[in-house]
C-alpha cells in the first residue's frame, strides 16, 4: 500500500527544490508574459502550482528531443567502423505534469514499446520519474481534456499531487515515487478519501469544452466520413506549417539524417529530428509521387491519427489528450476540437 501525505504548499515547493540538487527536475515556469515552459529547477526557482497555463511544448518532449543523435560512428579504413549508440541515462524528474500531458506520456509509452521497442525513448523513460499534478479548473478556453478522457488520468504518475487551498495531497503511486519521498519528514495523511472528496467538490463541472457526442462513438463517426466537406472547410486557411504537429504531445514522427564532424571527415553521427505529417512532402516517395499531396488529405490524416487510426491500433480511447495546444498555436485558429465537432454534426445530420 503506497503512502499519502497532506502538507502545505511551501513545504512541497521546498521539497522539489531539494530534489533538484540531485536530479534534473523540470517544472513549468513562467516564460514571457503569459507563457510557461518546463525548465530545470534551481535553488531559487519559484514553484507555483496554481497559476498554470499549458506550456508551449509538452513535458513528454523531454523524452524525445527535437534533434536527437541515434549513434556516433568512426570509419576505420577497410575495417568495420566503430558504431556507438547514444542512450541518455541521466536521471530526470518531470514535475508539475498535468493529467493531459501525463496521458500523452502514457500514449507515447505504448507507441515506443510496440513491436521493435525504441531504445532511445525507453532508456530516457526508464530513468525518468513523473510527478503529476491534478487540475481542478480548466487551464483556459482551449482545453478539452475531459472530453477525451484525460482529466483525472493518473495511472502512470510515480507521484500524484492535488492542490487544495494552501495544501497539497501527495500520493505516492510507485516505488520510484517512494524513493523521492525518502528522508522527508512528512506527516502521513490518514484521511485521504475525505481530502480527495474535498478536491472533487472544487472541480469545475462541466470541465472545459465538451464534444457533441460521447468519446466512445467518435472513432466510428469519423471513420465513415472520408469524403465529408468538413475536411476542406477546415483546411481553407491552413499554411501546412506543421506547428500543430510540433506542439502535440502525441505527434512522434521523425526524419533521419547523417552529419559528419567538421574537424574529422571520418567521424559523425546519425540524427533524428521531428517531422510533421502536415508538411507537404511528408508522404512523398522517389519519383515524386505524393500519397497526401492535398492539404485536406493531410489534415484528415492528422485528425484520424488522433481519433481513429492510433486509437484502434493501441486500443486507447483517444490519442488526442485535449491539451488544446494545436488550436492555441495555429496562427489561423484551426482547432482540432472544432473539426471533430463538425464531423460529429455532419455525421448526425447525414444519418
Amino acid at each position: 500500500m503506497m503512502r499519502a501525505f497532506f502538507i502545505d504548499k511551501d513545504a512541497v515547493a521546498h521539497w522539489i527544490r531539494h530534489l533538484a540538487r540531485s536530479h534534473t527536475v523540470y517544472f513549468p515556469q513562467r516564460a514571457g508574459q503569459s507563457g510557461f515552459r518546463f525548465k530545470p529547477v534551481g535553488e531559487t526557482t519559484e514553484i507555483q502550482f496554481d497559476r498554470y497555463h499549458p506550456t508551449l511544448s509538452p513535458p513528454g518532449k523531454k523524452l524525445t528531443p527535437a534533434e536527437e543523435p541515434l549513434f556516433r560512428y568512426r570509419k576505420r579504413g577497410d575495417e568495420a567502423p566503430e558504431l556507438v549508440p547514444i542512450l541518455d541515462r541521466s536521471p530526470r524528474i518531470l514535475a508539475g505534469v498535468r493529467p493531459c500531458d501525463l496521458k500523452g506520456i502514457h500514449l507515447m509509452d505504448q507507441v515506443n514499446r510496440e513491436g521493435h521497442g525504441d531504445p532511445h525513448y525507453l532508456t530516457r523513460r526508464t530513468h525518468s520519474t513523473l510527478m503529476a499534478h491534478d487540475c481542478l479548473q480548466p487551464c483556459d478556453a482551449a482545453c478539452f481534456c475531459d472530453a477525451v478522457g484525460s482529466l483525472g488520468w493518473r495511472e502512470n504518475a510515480d507521484i500524484f499531487l492535488t492542490s487544495i487551498d494552501d495544501h497539497i495531497l501527495i500520493e505516492v503511486q510507485t516505488p520510484a515515487g517512494e524513493t523521492l519521498i525518502q528522508g522527508m519528514d512528512f506527516p502521513v495523511c490518514q484521511e485521504v478519501a475525505s481530502v480527495k472528496a474535498r478536491a472533487e467538490a472544487q472541480r469545475a463541472k462541466p470541465f472545459g469544452r465538451q464534444f457533441h457526442a460521447d468519446l466512445a462513438r467518435i472513432p466510428t463517426l469519423i471513420a465513415n466520413q472520408w469524403h465529408a466537406p468538413v475536411w476542406e472547410k477546415h483546411v481553407e486557411a491552413c499554411f501546412s506549417c506543421g506547428s500543430c504537429n510540433l506542439v502535440c504531445p502525441t505527434c512522434y514522427c521523425f526524419d533521419v539524417h547523417d552529419d559528419f564532424d567538421l574537424t574529422d571527415i571520418n567521424a559523425g553521427q546519425r540524427t533524428r529530428t521531428w517531422d510533421g505529417c502536415m508538411l507537404p512532402r511528408f508522404a512523398e516517395v522517389a519519383g515524386g509521387h505524393n500519397f497526401r499531396s492535398n492539404p485536406a488529405a493531410r489534415q484528415r490524416h492528422r485528425v484520424k491519427r488522433k481519433f481513429e487510426y492510433l486509437t484502434e491500433r493501441f486500443a486507447e480511447g483517444s490519442f488526442c489528450t485535449g491539451c488544446g495546444r494545436c488550436g492555441r498555436q495555429c496562427t489561423t485558429g484551426i482547432d482540432i476540437f472544432d473539426i471533430v465537432n463538425d464531423l460529429i454534426d455532419h455525421a448526425e445530420a447525414n444519418s
Binding site: P85, N112, H116, T123, A176, F291
Partner: protein, 288 residues
Amino acid sequence: MSATPYASDPTIDPALYLPRMARILEVTPLTSREKYFKVELPEPLGHRPGQFVMLSLLGVGEAPISISCGPRTDTILEMVIRNAGSLTQVLHGLKPGQQVGIRGPFGSGFDLEDFYGKQVLCVVGGLGLVPMRSLIQPILAQLDRFAALTIISGCRTPAEELYREEMRAWERLGQETGKVRVIRLVDRTQNLPWDGQVGLVTAPLPSLPIDPDNTVVALCGPPVMYKFVLLELAARGLPHSRIFVDLERRMKCGVGKCGHCQINHVYCCQEGPVFRFDQIAHLPEALQ
C-alpha cells in the same frame, strides 16, 4: 535511482538503429539508372521474399531498399539501386571492397505457403521486378511444388529493362519445362531492337490462359499500375484474397516508429510492404 518500468523488457535493443556493415562484392550497371549490387554480410540475413532492408552509408544517409534475391543460407544479399537522389547517387559511385550499412530484414514479405500448388502470376512494372525476383527465384528453384509460373514484366522502353539475361533464361526454362511463361513488354520501342511485346502490363491479362480458381497473383510496380491491373484481374474473376500487392511508401526507420509509411492505420514497414489485397482493399489510401 527509480524503479525501472521497462528495464527488464526484452524488446529493448540498443542497436535497433545501428547498421551491420556489409562488403560490396560486385557492382554491375543494369541500365543507365540502375545498378546491381551484391554484398556480403557478417552473417546470413535470414529473410523472406518481399522483405526489405534499410541501406545506408555513414555520413550520407539511409533508405529502404528491396531484397532482390530469394532466401538463402549464405551471407550474400543482392539489391538493385536506382540513382534517384542523394544517397543512391553516392551508392552508384561505390566499388567492390567498399562497405555499406544494412539493417533488417524488415516487413511482412510473401509467404511461399500461399503459392504452393497454385498457378502463380507475377505482374511487375519497372523496378517492381527487383523485389519480385526474391519470390521468383525460390519458385523456380522448386518448380514441382507449383502448378505454373507466369511473369508479366513491363517497362517503358527496351533500354530500361532489368535483369535482361536472367529473364531470357527464365523463358528458356519455360520452353524446357512447359511450366514457366515470361511475357516481356515495353510501352514503346523507341526504335531500339526489342524481342518482346509492345503495350502496357495490363494488355496480356484478358486473354491469359489462367484458371481463376487456382491462381495466386503477386503485384509490384509504380502506384499508377495497381488500379488498372486490379481491374483486369477482377474481370478475370480473381478474388482479392488471392492477390498480393507490394506497396511503396516513404520510410525513415523500417521499424514502425517514424510514422512516414502509414497507410491509414496500417504501418507499411510492419504489416507490409506485401499485403494480401483483401486486407487493405477497404483502406482509402492503399492505392492512391
